[in-house]
Symmetry: C2
Subunit: 258 residues, 2 copies
Amino acid sequence: MYLRSMISVSVIGSGNVASHLISAFLNSTSCKLIEVYSRNIDNITHLEGAVSITNDLKALKPVDVIVIAVSDNAIKDLTQNISLTNTLIVHTSGSVSMKVLKPHKNIGVFYPLQSFNKDKKLNIKKVPFCLETNLETSLVLLEKLGSAISNQIYFIDSEQRKKIHLAAVFANNFTNHMLYHANEICETHNIPFDILKPLIRETIKKIKTGMPLESQTGPAKRGDIETIKNQQKQLIDSQLEIYDTITKSILNTYKING
Amino acid sequence: MYLRSMISVSVIGSGNVASHLISAFLNSTSCKLIEVYSRNIDNITHLEGAVSITNDLKALKPVDVIVIAVSDNAIKDLTQNISLTNTLIVHTSGSVSMKVLKPHKNIGVFYPLQSFNKDKKLNIKKVPFCLETNLETSLVLLEKLGSAISNQIYFIDSEQRKKIHLAAVFANNFTNHMLYHANEICETHNIPFDILKPLIRETIKKIKTGMPLESQTGPAKRGDIETIKNQQKQLIDSQLEIYDTITKSILNTYKING
């Protein structure tokens, strides 16, 4: 493998992550997007002219890096059908092991830690990319590719990546589900959800300057058992279980006897 | 009672909410802060010169509105010691009934829906205020006072206010506790918490344009039982209970068989 000044890259996939990566690579002056693959060519015909498109894995053009941005359970099968041997092959998944890319010899992970939506613009320069390769020399190449589109590059091994994915479930998926229940309570009682938005924004702004451990407020943090009992009475079963579990966890965290 | 063009107001308290209200009233050109009370006069001596200060409830000056901004369980006792009879007396609590202000005849609630911290600046104009009074005529007065410091005035009865407070526990306290666990997972595995912040910001930005029901992502939303099982194995007991409860709730919400 030789390092030219401009890295050549191809993208496998046409979903949310793939779409954002394709745009980012096309807009970057430090790397060159050569080709995009989709099983269904209709998904990528809009790219024709800007980049070579194909639905034939066996005929992929040789490039420095192939980025596989497809759903977790499709990665393995897809990889087996790529016949290029000198190319660095990476996937973009937070939870899939790098090893599924074997028997390719030059493999890695290029995991953007963000929730992507095809139709929503997003400043990719601020998206943290978690990089890992099996070969030291490939890491230099992958870092160059990452730096071509983002300012936030992290070297993260498979074990840490799993933990990040787990932490993200709490930080993203679970917080969103808390907002879902807040919205449900509002809707049930004819309260505009808008009334809560300044509070939600302030809650999140606090992570800029402080740690969640110190930012905690509310009845459980205060050990205000009377308010907790009153609130328990007002909840429907599905909300009550969440309320009780998290309240218990807050009481335990701050060593308050509930 | 007569309506003058400028409402006169006094504040009882010197805590987080009281401090922000005092600043807001002092800065407003549509109302006049007359007096501030604190049981411990040392807490408010810094206000001397700007406003009259006192630690004697019996000697409060007559004003249009007295705002009681003290901790929930202190409101009732305090109220009994106020001897002014024509003044509108309101408290600022989300969870305390308006009725605790009886036997005063002219009572109400002036509840700012925000998490306040004495030492942190905040644009009070954007804070939603939830107003309620027992007399129709007082509501006009209280609306005027609210509008003097905020652009977001809502008329909310006691029953709705309880529900807002409950929704806020989910939207603020519980989301913060999710961030606490995310941070714990990061710290345990030597991962900088910063790596998650862009994702957290994006999660919250979504409430601007969409509803939490539609924004949900993650293994539970996808019905990805394999990832869920893998993640369960990685959690310590206290986190596992939260993980299981919320995962079950997401599966139920989207009618996915777990």
